[in-house]
């Protein structure tokens, strides 16, 4: 649940970028980091191996400033995609307000995508969270690769988007679709604010 703290006038949302290894989750965050004005971003914390693979997780705090009188912050996390980092994924997923599932559009990665999406649902279920209640946005990344290497969005939709959630094509390396995805998940998450009011007035 996204938190509205009326006492401190803060709204904080945790958004987790989920997906198979090397699908471009960290690239998404890096692009966001580059676009955010200096005074609005915290340090991006990235724990990576020498081969630039996310070992633990990435964390990018974004300060959106005072909106409607509330200091609004987005905390963007990525999970390590590799299968053997299961426990880290669960940890990062805790307390998530929304999930961006970054799928690798390459044809040969379809199975990994499906496996990772299953893994997401399983991890949510483990934490007692109904996946249908969790704001989710799909991103079909690497759409800038040659046509013959990637799947059409229809095919990806059929394979992954059985919940009919918002889905975006992206080329995270050059930034296309990155902010569309982020705006969409931020919108979905913040629309659930009303249910999160601690004062219990609604």
């Amino acid at each position: 649940m996204p938190l509205v703290n009326y006492a401190t006038r803060e709204i904080t949302c945790k958004i987790v970028y989920y997906g198979p290894g090397r699908s471009g989750k960290t690239t998404n965050l890096q692009y966001v980091y580059e676009q955010v004005p200096g005074n609005r971003k915290g340090n991006m914390v990235s724990l990576a191996t020498q081969a630039d693979r996310t070992l633990f997780f990435d964390f990018l705090p974004l300060d959106l400033g005072s909106i409607s009188g509330f200091t609004t912050r987005l905390q963007l996390y990525t999970v390590p995609g590799q299968v053997y980092y299961q426990s880290t994924r669960r940890l990062v997923l805790q307390g998530a307000d929304g999930v961006v599932f970054v799928a690798d559009s390459q044809s040969r990665q379809l199975e990994e995508n499906i496996e990772s999406l299953r893994d997401l649902h399983a991890n949510l279920a483990d934490q007692g969270i109904d996946a249908r209640a969790m704001p989710l946005v799909l991103q079909y990344n690497k759409q800038d690769l040659p046509r013959e290497l990637i799947l059409e969005t229809d095919v990806l939709d059929q394979a992954l988007n059985f919940r009919d959630v918002p889905a975006f094509t992206a080329g995270a390396l050059h930034g296309s679709g990155v902010f569309e995805t982020l705006r969409s998940i931020a919108g979905l998450v913040l629309r659930r604010l009303s249910a999160a009011a601690p004062a219990g007035s609604r």
Partner: protein, 641 residues
């Protein structure tokens, strides 16, 4: 300094968006260097920053014609500086600016990136600030947002008061349009100006431009404009889209994210929470605490937001008044944290009140009226007992204590004596005022004339004890009664003692408001009667002793039997008798007194044998001496008469 006469406070329309800026500007103009130094005004273009700056200069010069005021823009200043460097007259230029009493610097955002200029500015700023000169700055953005501005300048700019001039709301736009139309002697059909205001121009300059077009159109056209034709004429504004602050053509992806989030939040959060939260943000930026608003925001249910904000803003207005007053006494106090917390208004009031109280105290009790010299008899013992109780327990049993009785029975003496006793018991630390009702009214009138009413109130409200004499003189002075009513309540609520004296009971004072009468009667009302025999004897004994007369019992008995009603009468009588005795050249005796007062030497009404008197004493009995030489004394008295 030549000022454009149009730019005055009188021609500046005040609305919700600029109220704070205007009151700050006024405060600065009224006391340059005292409050809010520097004053930093920022807003988008065309919202009246320059107007406000010039208005400050106008008012300041009007109040202090000798003041040196200088208005300039950063660009002009740079040019001047460059010219002076080229001509080698840098020192003269510096001196000129350093002698300015009020510096108004416009377009401060253009200091961005000009490092040399900034150090020059910093030096000038330090000189002006140290000598208490007023600096007013205007910019299109707050100090912190001016790019590449030296941190020392940023903190100095933000060190006084930073206010923004907001966009005018609908009502303000209508008011501006009406004022400008009147200035131009232009008349429009009803509803035309309102229709223009509805187009939501956020920029006064553009609003004025639109008005100019209407005026031109109406002057040239055949028929007067109607509300319906306004949108036609100002068509490009007809969509209600505000163009004064256009969205950047290529908004960054981050900006788009912000605007999305902003839209969602405005739908998701309750409107009242947004209102309260924005108010908190606004006041926080100005440095004010907003605990009251924060608690309301954190509450479960919707409060009366209008009332909440009105109260909060009223408290801030009060704090600002107090801050200004405090600054008059001690400039450093203007920056005190106390004046930034609306929940500490009463504390701030107390501080200011103490400040005023120490500098300009109301008159205290007169020291010559002491309790020791106040004689007690059956006719006044109740009053004296009550007065003594008040001294022991000020603000306790008898509050207020209301003493009444005919003139001369010692009310004033007792009143002042109570005051002196209270001062003494508190080691001189008590603030005790003893004031006559007539003087109280006169002071109030003077305060109203001078505009120092707040000061006047405060110096009374800080009192520990209020003693008021001749309360019957409040008759007919409504405003005084009103002020006294509030003063009474304030003192009473704080447990301070009030003692009042009048020539009649509260219920018999004509024109005394019921609310005051009931309060006066709510304590203890005691009558002081004309002095009885025992008291008269004491009066005479004291007066005779004071005038150096030898006091014998027969004389005292005789005098005390006289129907005197007041100490003043006693005093007059003693003076008269002493003179008579002086003329005759003999000491005052009962016989002489009787002769003087009744015109005969009839046998005294009271005779008393004086057994055991010595011969010497008998010889010194002046009465006998007079009897032995009747002719002589008779003649002397005859002559005197």
């Amino acid at each position: 300094m030549d000022l454009d006469a149009r730019y005055r406070f009188e021609t500046y329309v005040v609305g919700t968006g600029n109220r704070l800026a205007v009151s700050a500007a006024r405060a600065v103009a009224q006391a340059p260097g005292a409050a809010y130094n520097p004053l930093f005004i920022y807003s988008g273009s065309g919202l009246g920053k320059t107007h406000l700056m010039l208005a400050i200069a106008h008012l300041a010069l009007q109040r202090q014609p000798g003041l040196r005021a200088e208005y300039t823009t950063v660009d002009e200043f740079v040019e001047e500086l460059n010219g002076a460097v080229a001509a080698g007259t840098m020192d003269a230029l510096k001196r000129r600016y350093q002698e300015v009493g009020l510096l108004l610097l416009d377009d401060v955002q253009f200091l961005a990136g000009r490092r040399e200029m900034q150090s020059e500015m910093l030096r000038l700023f330090n000189v002006l600030q140290r000598s208490g000169r007023q600096v007013v700055l205007a910019s299109d953005r707050p100090p912190g947002d001016i790019a590449d501005l030296d941190d020392r300048l940023t903190t100095r700019f933000a060190g006084g008061l930073v206010v923004d001039v907001g966009e005018p709301d609908y009502e303000t736009r209508v008011a501006i349009l009406r004022m400008r139309s009147e200035e131009r002697a232009a008349q429009f059909n009803p509803g035309v100006l309102e229709e223009v205001a509805r187009l939501r121009f956020r920029n006064v300059r553009e609003l004025q431009g639109a008005l100019n077009r209407l005026i031109a159109h109406q002057t040239l056209g055949e028929s007067p404009l109607t509300p319906a034709t306004v949108r036609e004429l100002l068509g490009e504004r007809g969509d209600g889209v505000v163009r004064a602050t256009p969205v950047r053509a290529q908004a960054s992806e981050f900006d788009t994210l912000l605007s999305d989030v902003s839209e969602v939040l405005s739908q998701q959060l309750e409107a009242w929470r947004i209102r309260v939260s924005e108010a908190i943000t606004y006041w926080h930026e100005l440095g004010y605490h907003a605990g009251r608003l924060e608690r309301a925001l954190d509450g479960a249910s919707e409060p009366d937001v209008d009332a909440l904000l009105t109260d909060y803003e009223a408290a801030i207005a009060r704090l600002r008044d107090l801050q200004q007053t405090a600054a008059k006494f001690d400039h450093r106090l203007a920056t005190s944290e106390l004046f930034l917390d609306p929940e500490r208004v009463s504390e701030a009031e107390l501080v200011v009140a103490r400040l005023i109280g120490t500098v300009d105290p109301p008159p205290g009790p007169r020291v010559e009226f002491t309790r020791a010299e106040f004689d007690v008899g059956p006719s006044n013992q109740l009053a004296v007992h009550a007065a003594d109780t008040v001294v022991q327990e000020p603000g306790g049993k008898y509050n207020p204590l209301y003493l009444h009785g005919p003139s001369g029975v010692g009310k004033t003496h007792l009143l002042h004596a109570v005051g002196n006793e209270l001062v003494a018991t508190r080691g001189g630390a008590a603030l005790v005022a003893c004031v006559n009702a007539r003087d109280f009214t006169d002071e109030l009138i003077r305060a109203l004339q001078d505009g120092t009413i707040e000061r006047w109130r405060v110096r009374y409200r800080v009192l520990d004890v209020l003693l008021m004499d001749d309360v019957q003189q409040l008759t007919g002075s409504e405003r005084t009664q009103d002020e006294l009513f509030h003063l009474f309540n304030s003192l009473y609520a704080a447990g301070r003692q009030i003692v009042l004296a009048a020539d009649r009971a509260p219920g018999r004072i004509e024109g005394l408001e019921d609310r005051l009468r009931s309060r006066f009667e709510g304590g203890l009302v005691v009558e002081m009667q004309r002095p009885d025999h025992a008291l008269r004897e004491k009066f005479f004994a004291r007066q005779l002793a004071a005038s150096g007369q030898r006091v014998d019992h027969a004389l005292l008995e005789y005098l005390a039997s006289r129907p005197v009603g007041s100490v003043a009468e006693v005093s007059a009588l003693v003076t008269r008798l002493r003179k008579a005795a002086d003329i005759v050249g003999v000491p005052l005796t009962a016989g002489l007194a009787r002769k003087e007062l009744e015109g005969s030497f009839a046998a005294p009404t009271v005779t008393r044998s004086t057994p055991g008197r010595s011969v010497d004493e008998s010889f010194l009995d002046e009465e006998k001496v007079v009897w032995e030489w009747p002719e002589l004394s008779g003649r002397a008295i005859e002559e005197y008469r």
